[in-house]
């Protein structure tokens, strides 16, 4: 790491201040990464408790249903809101988007710091739910009337959402202005990295949809603590109102996760196969923006069994299916980028390659769910779990991990690759399949979600095995993943200080963050000369 610089007029500043109180986008990015990984670790431990509890019939590890619900609440809410969204749109976007567009920082550095602090305090608030009496037990969806009538402290859920939402909205404002005004002179819209495009798209989604979630949970807060009647049918409110508002945000939110993950993948694949993005314009304008466009009109697919009018469910069946068109275009571009490439393998590329499998498996298993007639049975079963763990928990998380390995030399000046990285990759890859395939199978036979016990299924057999057997396999898988995640955590910390030193551009990429900055970049990113580009420059042009 470069030592703090002192210039005339600036007294030497203690290093901790320059880290903790930083307004530099790279250091804020690192703060996001640390926070997100901590959140992932804790929520992952909760997942292990869940798996242990579900492993056998009856109650073994938790003391009450309420405790299980509290743990599952934490797992779902924190994984989505405090791990993936901050990991992708906080860490990755913060650190690399300004570098990729040749900016010295974001447009509003202090607001950026403000966002990261909102995120940290939100994690603190979420963690407090284990400490306070009556922590929230309402699942990450927080549906009323339960969330209003429960004795648990729903306000913690609401404020966690508020803090994170506010953080994301400000992030969105910040990055949109940054991309509009701070691109290096000469950089046109069609010369942006895919990651930059996907991040912009994610921020546009955040900007438009988070407010709706924020008002939904605010109304929840008022209903519970001030006695208003928004979701109370006896006084003219409606329980479905909440669900509509909630999913109006939370479906697009899955693309807030999905798109930046896809962007990271594109960048890894293009760099490692030294190839241009296949059909860049289609990927950007049809793929990314098509997904954004459709994402706002499909939310009712989460309400297929909620008693919505039939015609709405059918309408959303069609729109939901149509998402496969832009996403399909994106996958084709991803595949095409491999075509006639010159692929080098390293840990980042291995994660990227496995993501190709995960995106297919997770995405295609969304297709049965898109048909309301299928979902009438599949909804609320562990089939849904398997679907979204594959596409979200695994695809997006693997893309993020790939990204960490890919950018590790940039952030630290050292490689994170090595035997531990390879072993842990395989542990993870095998682990996720062992964990979540069984959930597909029992889900199709009706294993419900959010159950700590499944006594009523004790005699049901599939291919000669009981549900319990499948759960046992899944638990073994989960512990394999745990090992596969623990190892790289240690590895990252070790490599950051002791790893093999890397040059400024170890992968010979053409992208700005590699070609124009030191590893790690100092304050101001690009030294004294501003980056200026010509119209022939492209982050993906290797053939010249």
């Amino acid at each position: 790491m470069s030592t703090p610089t002192t210039t005339t007029g600036h007294a030497a500043v203690p290093a901790w201040k320059e880290w903790i109180l930083t307004t530099d986008h790279k250091r804020i990015g690192i703060l996001y990464l640390v926070g997100a990984m901590a959140a992932f670790g804790i929520a992952g431990l909760m997942a292990l408790i869940i798996r242990l509890e579900q492993m056998e019939l009856g109650m073994q590890f938790v003391e009450s249903g309420t405790q299980y619900n509290g743990i599952l609440y934490f797992h779902g809410a924190v994984m989505i809101l405090a791990f993936l969204i901050p990991g992708l749109t906080g860490f990755a976007a913060n650190y690399f988007l300004p570098l990729m567009i040749g900016a010295r920082d974001v447009a509003f550095p202090r607001i950026n710091a403000f966002s990261v602090w909102l995120f940290y305090f939100a994690i603190v608030l979420a963690l407090l739910s284990f400490v306070v009496p009556d922590g929230p037990d309402i699942m990450w969806t927080g549906y009323p009337p339960y969330s209003v009538t429960t004795s648990a402290n729903t306000s913690m859920y609401v404020f966690t959402v508020h803090l994170l939402g506010f953080s994301s909205i400000l992030g969105a404002v910040n990055f949109l202005v940054t991309v509009i005004y701070l691109r290096a002179p000469g950089m046109g819209w069609n010369q942006l990295n895919m990651f930059v495009w996907t991040t912009i798209a994610a921020f546009v989604l955040q900007l438009i949809f988070i407010p709706v979630l924020a008002s939904a949970v605010t109304l929840l807060l008022f209903d519970k603590y001030l006695g208003t009647h928004f979701f109370d049918p006896t006084e003219g409110g409606d329980v479905l109102l909440y669900q509509n508002l909630f999913w109006f945000y939370s479906h697009p939110a899955v693309y807030v996760i999905f798109l930046p993950a896809v962007g990271i993948l594109f960048d890894i694949i293009a760099t490692m196969s030294k190839n241009r993005i296949f059909n860049y314009k289609a990927a950007v304008y049809v793929g990314i923006w098509g997904t954004v466009g459709i994402s706002g009109i499909v939310w009712v697919h989460h309400l297929y069994v909620s008693g919505m009018p039939d015609w709405i469910r059918l309408g959303h069946m069609v729109t939901t299916l149509l998402i496969s068109v832009p996403v399909g275009i994106l996958t084709l571009s991803m595949w095409g980028t491999l075509y006639k490439g010159a692929i080098t393998y390293n840990t980042a590329m291995m994660y990227a390659a496995s993501c190709l499998y995960l995106i297919l498996l997770g995405g295609l298993t969304g297709i049965p769910l898109a048909l309301p007639s299928m979902t009438l049975h599949l909804s609320e079963t562990s089939y849904v779990h398997a679907h979204f763990h594959f596409i979200m928990a695994l695809f997006a998380a693997f893309a993020l991990f790939g990204g960490i390995y890919y950018w590790f030399p940039k952030m630290t000046g050292r490689y994170a690759d090595g035997p531990i990285a390879t072993v842990s990759f395989w542990l993870n890859f095998v682990g996720v399949n062992v964990t979540f395939w069984p959930l597909f199978i029992i889900g199709k036979e009706g294993m419900p979600r959010r159950y700590w016990d499944y006594e009523m299924f004790k005699d049901v057999q599939i291919m000669g095995f009981y549900f319990e057997d499948f759960h046992k396999v899944a638990t073994i898988g989960a512990f394999t993943i745990a090992l596969g995640m623990l190892l790289p955590t240690i590895n990252f910390i070790y490599a950051a200080f002791k790893g093999k030193p890397a040059p400024d551009n170890p992968w010979n990429s053409k992208s700005l963050e590699w070609t124009h900055t030191a590893s790690p970049p100092g304050p101001g990113n690009f030294g004294d000369t501003d980056v200026v580009l010509d119209e022939n420059w492209s982050p993906y042009e290797y053939q010249k």
């Binding site: 030294k274 059918l314 275009i329 075509y339 006639k340 010159a342 499998y357 909804s379 159950y451």
Partner: protein, 230 residues
Amino acid sequence: MRNFLTAMTALSVGAMASTQAFAQEVRNPAAEWEELWNTVIIDITIIGVIMAIAAVWMLIKYRATSPDQVGTAKRLTTVQAISFALIPAAIFMADDFYLAAKGWTVWNAYRRVPENAIEIKVTAYQWYFEFEYPDGTETEELKMPIGEPVVLRMTSEDVLHNFGVPEYRVKEDVMPGRITYIWINPVEAKETIVQCAEFCGQNHSEMTTKVSAVPREEYDAWLAKIAAED
């Protein structure tokens, strides 16, 4: 535009005619679900396998042989670029509409309640279901006469619940302030369970009860017995 409108009208008239034909017979949603499942799974498996093979093939074939080798893909011409967007988009859309049409048909089976269906009222509480039969009998388990469609009109007295019967491949939320319905066609004798499938608090995973399809005589006798007990 006019052509388009005419085509749409023709389509919808056709759709209506065919749904009317369907309305005559009593369908079996659970069986149709299974068929649809197979169709959809085959469909997505084909897509998945093709794409996966392509990926694996390229990942192996295009490995770099020397560190400074670069990719050799050509830049697409405008025509190529547009074709590579439009043709796949058309194919994907075709598949989507195919699946949508299939899904829609089965959807009608689920939502069109046969006219002669026996109507049973379901009320959900934390954490049990209560059934009220046409004759006013109230029980905590569901029995249906074989071969006679049953429609459940459901509501909740407290929070959200969900009436899910995995064997019959059906579920629907039960909520306060609204009445939702599902219908079941019990074609053969069967003893199974209904479980609550919408999160409802502490004992959510213990909210379950028996569902059985029995011959008409047994059903009548059972109802009579319960009525006598009260």
